[in-house]
Amino acid sequence: MFGKLLKHELRSYLRVLLPVELILIGIALIGRLVQLFESDSLIYSFMLTSALLAFFAAWIISTILIAILCVVRFYKNLFTGEGYLTFTLPVTTGQHLWVKIIGATAAGVISMVATLISLFIICDTELLIEIFKVVIYLSKLAMDYIGINYIFFIIEIVISLFISGISQNLLIYACIAIGQTARKHRILWAIGVYFIHYLITQTISVAFQFISSVLSITGIFERFADFITKYYMEFTHCMLTFSSLIQLAICGVYFIITYFIIHKKLNLE
């Protein structure tokens, strides 16, 4: 049942994603066709600038649209009248949540792939080849300088970005879920919760920076400076892994909050 639910979730995403991304690709194609008439004339400059601006605007709009779609699907499917049907399905609350998380992540990945394809279309092939050569050259330099650590850094950064993306979705789900516990103005409450969360994280960040600067005056960090300088590779790996684990833990917290509210405190409209 979980598989079927996931399949339908992805299908409903594709119903919106496909036309949006096709439009983006279409605009990229127009931009490429304009470049066939490359010249020094003012008209060509104007046409090219317009095509590039249109492509950039289309990309921004499609990205925002996907983000809104993920949020709206979660809200409508679980917290509005649709919820009455959704929760009759023979699927656990946790599975419902996982379907939403996987669906939103898949939509994000499809959007990224479509953006890459459209960039490939709008850029000249020779330019793409030269960009590819630059990437290879810089990677080779990095490999010469830091060896195999370079590949591990890439993997760690990609994983960190991936977890960060899921974390953002889960944060919004948690805010919506907390907002649903109110009797009235639930969406406004959800937005309010998001801003409170932002304030708290910013306060913690500033407090942490303040404590760090106070401690640095005492010279406590100097003891660690030599160690970090000597083992900077290992230290960087540890920091990246640690930050990913922290992110993962935060995702877990958001997941638990959302799960608990849906499982115990659900109050559909």
């Binding site: 594709l14 496909l18 096709l22 690709i25 194609l29 490429r32 470049q35 066939l36 490359e38 394809i117 490939f120 279309i121 000249d124 092939t125 020779e126 330019l127 030269e130 960009i131 050569k133 630059v134 290879i136 050259y137 080779k140």
Partner: protein, 263 residues
């Protein structure tokens, strides 16, 4: 997978394939035009030709007119990074024979210009470097921007008639120091070989409403007035310089002791 999704994916793939064939980028062509690569033997390869380093220290008049910008990088540096990771940067002559290079972004040295010569002309240029400088033409360099904002630069080379007229002026009696005269502008005239590889600045041509004057600072310093009957020839010589003056404005002043009666 539904038919609609398959159709969409096929359409995207077809678009990508078609676009990969449509190539042409002027900006890349411009970059390629200014990108040379060092080879393992310390030579430079540019547009399929090999350039070898040539020592020009023996001939102080070696001064090729190199105006086409280029950079020389290590062989593996990609085109898009050539302006940032170059070993040498400098210029090449319009006939692509001589490179005049200086230290690039990746070079830790500061040195005078170094010269590279195209392999097929190497012996010829090396022979010329060892020969005595025998000027064949006069000329001057110019540089300004036209109405479209495009750079216009080059060397104006005198015709035979103009060269003969200049020689006559230099050979005429010099003016004596008497009183001040005022001249708005001047241009440095050099003597050069016909291929413009060797140049020596020797003359300065002053021009004003009062007439033309040639200052010869070669062996003995002297100033010669251009006779009225040669004004047309010197008008022709300075036609290009005046276009440059229109752009840059008149900024130069020269004061020289001269007898007004002599003008």
């Amino acid at each position: 997978m539904s038919k609609r999704v398959i159709k969409a994916i096929s359409l995207i793939l077809a678009t990508v394939l078609i676009c990969s064939v449509l190539t042409g980028c002027n900006a890349l062509d411009t970059l390629r035009d200014t990108h040379a690569k060092l080879d393992n033997e310390g030579n430079i390869v540019y547009k399929g030709n090999t350039y070898m380093r040539i020592d020009a220290s023996s001939n102080k008049y070696f001064s090729p007119n190199a105006e086409h910008y280029l950079v020389a990088t290590e062989p593996d540096v990609p085109l898009l990074l050539s302006y940032f990771l170059n070993t040498y940067m400098g210029y090449i002559t319009d006939d692509d024979i001589i490179m005049v290079l200086g230290p690039g972004m990746m070079s830790a040295d500061y040195s005078d210009d170094i010269f590279y010569c195209r392999e097929d002309k190497y012996k010829e240029v090396k022979k010329k470097l060892s020969q005595e400088f025998l000027p064949e033409v006069y000329g001057y360099s110019y540089y300004y921007y036209d109405d479209n904002g495009d750079e216009v630069s080059g060397v104006y080379t005198f015709t035979k008639e103009q060269t003969k007229a200049m020689k006559e002026v230099i050979a005429s009696p010099a003016l004596e120091d008497k009183e001040l005269f005022y001249s708005d502008d001047y241009v440095d005239i050099y003597e050069a070989t016909e291929d413009l590889l060797f140049k020596k600045e020797a003359l300065r041509l002053f021009y004003s409403d009062e007439g033309y004057f040639v200052e010869n600072g070669d062996n003995e310093y002297s100033v010669h007035a251009v006779p009225e009957e040669m004004t047309d020839i010197f008008d022709e010589i300075l036609e290009t310089q005046r276009l440059s003056d229109e752009y840059w404005g008149s900024e130069y002043e020269f004061y020289y002791d001269i007898d007004e009666d002599e003008i």
